[in-house]
């Protein structure tokens, strides 16, 4: 292949996308990444010469919600992503071949592009009982993650399940689901939690790599700071009502109709780090609080247990100053939860015990016992 052949810029010309539209996209990406507008031309230059990056998209204990989110990409569109920017060589929900032909697509890319393809993982990875809770082609999903992510340039964990085990890993789940970081520690992993993740953050992460040759800066949990560096509460369009003491007290009441603050209906915005209010969803159409329902904190660690019950008002929301970071609040939050009550303490103990069991299971060869009985749901907090 000659230099430049098949590059994004050339392909865009080939199907009549105007240069102006292309530059508009580059400006949108610069904004999403919180870069000054001067970076837009640099993004454009980078995409002009980039070959399509091979991608292997793995699905484990997933609901395909992140795949559907990917299909909603608007700047660029999913067709642009699939046909011009990426080479999505393996994606079970989208790919033409099945069975061994599909597996060949995966192994071909792993073999032909060692250290040069991007792995995307969606869904949890069950480690209990040798991985029998998720098998693909007769193999444990875990062994596929180890192989594919182990040989990748980097792995992007999309959604909360791939981040920390998510829903199957919540209290009561018997499969000991964990996130990618627990399976291939030490590898480059970009975590994009959310249920599902916002595809705008996925696109921006990929474009950042194509432009600068590196992935965006991340916090101690591997989350890009451009997307997870600020409290949702500080960016919320209803924040002024919080400050003014104007709250929704019932669904459909005057405050609800007037767009007042949802804090008293259980909104988790004061403890959640995410850029939903600024990026929004579905081509910037809306986001849950704008539509009228509180945030459930779906980008946060172990949110199914830590943020529920979803309608219970936060007792002592930390982190109201704009200069705290996700790391600081995360530590404060974990501390507060652990100390709250005896019931909460028991729940935390159950979680910690479970996390240890998972770690032991991970360090053991596949096929061994899981390290104790699955946790029961008994230790979880009472319903408010």
């Amino acid at each position: 292949m000659e230099p430049g052949e098949g590059t994004l810029g050339r392909l865009l010309v080939a199907h009549h996308v105007s240069r102006r539209a292309f530059l508009r996209f580059c400006s949108a990406m610069a904004a999403a990444l919180a870069l000054p507008p001067m970076y837009a031309p640099r993004i454009a230059r980078a995409l002009d010469v980039a070959q399509r990056v091979p991608v292997i998209w793995l699905e484990g204990q997933d609901c395909a919600g992140n795949t559907e989110g990917f299909l909603r990409a608007s700047h660029p569109t999913v067709a642009d992503l699939v046909l011009e920017i990426l080479s999505v060589d393996y994606h079970e929900t989208l790919m033409a071949p099945a069975g061994t032909a599909a597996e060949r697509s995966r192994s071909d890319t792993v073999g032909a592009f060692p250290g040069a393809y991007i792995a995307v993982v969606e869904g949890g990875i069950p480690v209990a009982e040798g991985g029998v809770y998720c098998a693909i082609g007769g193999r444990s999903f875990r062994s596929i993650v180890e192989e594919v992510c182990g040989g990748a340039l980097a792995t992007i964990a999309v959604g909360t399940c791939a981040y920390d085990g998510g829903l199957p890993g919540a209290n009561g789940g018997p499969t000991e689901a964990v996130g990618v970081s627990a399976i291939v520690p030490g590898k480059t992993i970009i975590n994009l939690p959310g249920c599902p993740m916002n595809v705008q953050n996925l696109t921006a992460t990929i474009v950042h790599y194509l432009t600068f040759g590196t992935f965006p800066a991340v916090d101690s949990r591997g989350r890009p700071t451009f997307a997870y560096g600020q409290l949702l509460h500080d960016q919320c369009e209803r924040r002024a009502h919080f400050d003014a003491g104007e709250y929704v007290l019932g669904w459909g009441d005057e405050g609800h109709r007037k767009g007042w603050c949802l804090y008293k209906m259980g909104c988790k915005g004061p403890e959640t780090f995410a850029n939903c209010p600024t990026v929004r969803f579905n081509d910037r159409t809306s986001w849950p609080v704008k539509a009228g329902h509180g945030c459930v904190g779906c980008t946060m660690p172990r949110f199914w247990d830590q943020m529920s019950p979803f309608y219970r008002r936060l007792s002592n929301p930390p982190g109201f100053a704009v200069d705290v970071t996700a790391d600081e609040v995360g530590l404060a939050f974990v501390g507060a939860v652990t100390g709250l009550t005896v019931i909460h303490g028991a729940a935390s103990y159950a979680r910690a015990r479970r996390a240890r069991a998972s770690d032991e299971a991970i360090s053991r060869p596949a096929g061994g016992p899981a390290g104790g009985p699955p946790p029961s749901g008994d230790g979880r907090p009472e319903v408010a």
Binding site: R10, L11, A14, H16, P54, E59, Q61, C63, A64, G65, T67, E68, G69, L71, R72, V78, A79, S87, D89, E92, T93, L94, A96, P97, A98, G99, T100, A102, S105, Y133, A135, G138, R139, P168, A170, G172, T175, C195, G250, W251, G252, K258, G259, F281, N282, T285, S286, P288, A291, G292, H293, V296, W304, P309, F310, Y311, G367, E382, V383, A384
Partner: protein
């Protein structure tokens, strides 16, 4: 006799393994196995019932929203709550656009590549393609230059040598029958549908905050303020945005999707005689136009058609639903012989398959993470075909007219409906009918706003202290893939049992205690195989059901086969 394994089945949601036995160029027996389990029902225990829909919605991100709806209906049923008219209409609009968008995605992005040869499209004449397009539809994007641009884009893409998701497809397979021009038309609409779907689903963002997984449901109604005088609420202006998207949705369905399905069907009429399956069809019915608890107000009716007899529609009684685990990796506390009604349902995983990695599963014993739901002891097919057949047999005037029109256009009789092709056609017909209703429902909502009816939720049971000490409820929904039920038991303000019986569990179930096959297994028997190493025909029939395995959350099915097992794909 050859045993073939296809794992993973792709272009579905979730993880599915299909094994078949074949001889003389046709399938003689089949087993379907779901190979992933998450334990959602166990995670839900002990939780606040008002939270359940947030969890349950994650049963599936493709048919997103339907599990949220089933969940709030189940809890509302348990607490004897009736939602306001506005909440009913908003739920219908969210569910309706879900049907429309999901069915189109299914046809173009999950199913079409079983019928459409992408490589053949490269040799199409754009002028002849434009002629073909104009002969079947008034859709404006039908110029020679439009199809030339699509072909050029496809050529540029293939010239890179990086075929991405299209690599290793069954291109050139003798079972493909479309002309190059018909293939190019379909490829053009594959791309157009990608654009269309992300735009029209913005209706769910306007009414639900986001898609997938909209977030404005609450037990008792909807958490969305409506007020013509408040710019932050749902106003006439935002409703006009919804109206415009509905118009775009309907235009594409009637001028692209439906004509394309009919055109493709014309090339594959023999598939009207393949893939019939068990012949029992069930629909819970949905889209309440009045009292949401009264099935007589539903736009799509509730009922059962048994043994392909369109002369009678039987009633549905949820008490007759029961699940068997005789061939599923679960254990019931009273033994596996007796099926359980969901209120008495148990989810105790008990994997009994081979250690991983395995070559094949043991079909004679337990082989799936799916339970086997039965209605009054009988296996059922659910989905668009079941809904259209129940409506047709019920004398639903619009369904009868649409179905008869399609049969006439193809020159076939009603018996052609009981087939793989019948499922494809029923899905498209249903999409067109629902797309036509959305505007009416929106008008109903606007009328309420004008009269000052701004209620969105019944808050009388929001406080858990108002609940009885013990309550049981069920929520029935027609999801795009078929009949969906959630059953909940609440004690002392917390969930003590939660069971989902979902469409792909009905359709993809393993055998039951009596050894009867599930709908997919039965439909595969008799499927022809031109090239057993590239079994595109199996994909056609399986995909015609639109499998959704994460939904069928109890599913996991490894099989242990004979030494002659051949893994193919």
């Amino acid at each position: 006799m050859t045993r073939l394994v296809i794992d993973p089945i792709t272009r579905i949601e979730g993880h599915l393994r299909i094994e078949v036995e074949a001889s003389n160029g046709a399938v003689t027996d089949a087993w379907s196995a779901g190979t992933m389990f998450r334990g959602l029902e166990l995670v839900l225990r002990g939780r606040d019932p008002r939270d359940a829909w947030v969890f349950a919605q994650r049963a599936c991100g493709v048919c997103t929203t339907v599990h949220a709806l089933a969940s709030v209906r189940a809890v509302e049923n348990a607490l004897e709550l009736t939602i306001p008219a506005n909440a009913r209409i908003i739920r219908n609009l969210i569910a309706g656009i879900q049907f429309v968008q999901d069915h189109v995605i299914h046809f173009y992005h999950l199913h079409a590549l079983d019928w459409v040869d992408v490589v053949s499209a490269l040799s199409a004449d754009p002028a002849k393609t434009a002629d073909l397009a104009e002969s079947i539809s008034p859709y404006p994007d039908s110029s020679v230059s439009y199809f030339r641009a699509v072909r050029d884009r496809l050529e540029a893409f293939t010239a890179t040598g990086q075929l991405g998701p299209f690599a290793n497809g069954y291109w050139g397979h003798p079972a493909y029958r479309l002309t190059p021009e018909a293939n190019l038309l379909a490829v053009a609409h594959y791309l157009a549908a990608l654009e269309w779907q992300r735009n029209v689903i913005r209706i769910q963002a306007l009414l639900g905050g986001k898609n997938p997984h909209p977030q404005t449901y609450v037990v008792g109604g909807m958490a969305i303020g409506i007020d013509p005088n408040s710019p932050t609420a749902l106003t006439m202006r935002r409703l006009s945005e919804v109206a415009q998207l509905i118009d775009e949705a309907r235009t594409f369905v009637d001028q692209v999707y439906l004509p394309d399905v009919m055109a493709v069907a014309g090339f594959y009429k023999d598939w009207a005689g393949i893939g019939a399956g068990i012949g029992n069809y069930m629909s819970y019915g949905d889209f309440p136009l009045g009292d949401p608890t009264d099935p007589r107000t539903f736009y799509l009716p509730r009922g059962i058609v048994m043994g392909r007899d369109l002369g009678a529609v039987l009633p549905v009684d949820h008490a007759k639903v029961a699940e068997s685990v005789a061939h599923s990796w679960y254990a019931y506390s009273d033994g596996d012989a007796t099926p359980h009604h969901p209120w008495k349902g148990e989810t105790q995983p008990a994997y009994a398959g081979p250690p991983l990695p395995y070559e094949s599963l043991e079909w004679h014993d337990k082989y799936s993470w799916l339970k086997a739901p039965r209605y009054d002891g009988q296996p059922m097919e659910v989905g668009p075909l079941a809904r259209m057949l129940v409506a047709y047999a019920s004398g639903h005037p619009e369904v009868r007219e649409a179905v008869d029109d399609a049969l006439r256009a193809l020159g076939v009789g009603p018996e052609a409906l009981f087939s793989t092709l019948g499922r494809v056609a029923a899905r498209a017909i249903e999409t067109s009918l629902i797309a036509a209703r959305l505007e009416e429902w929106l008008c109903d909502l606007e009328a309420n706003l004008r009269t000052g009816d701004l209620a969105v939720a019944d808050a009388s049971r929001w406080d858990p202290s108002t609940w009885p000490a013990h309550a049981e409820g069920f929520g029935m929904v027609e999801a795009p893939r078929g009949s969906l039920g959630h059953w909940v038991v609440i004690d002392d303000q917390a969930i003590t049992n939660y069971q989902l019986v979902v469409p792909s569990t009905w359709n993809g179930s393993p055998r039951d205690a009596a050894g009867r096959r599930g709908a997919w297994e039965e439909a595969l028997v008799g499927t022809p195989l031109a090239d057993p190493q590239r079994p595109v025909e199996i994909l056609r029939t399986i995909h015609s059901f639109d499998p959704c395995l994460a939904c069928a959350v109890h599913v996991y099915d490894p099989l242990r086969g004979t030494s002659t097992t051949v893994t193919v794909g």
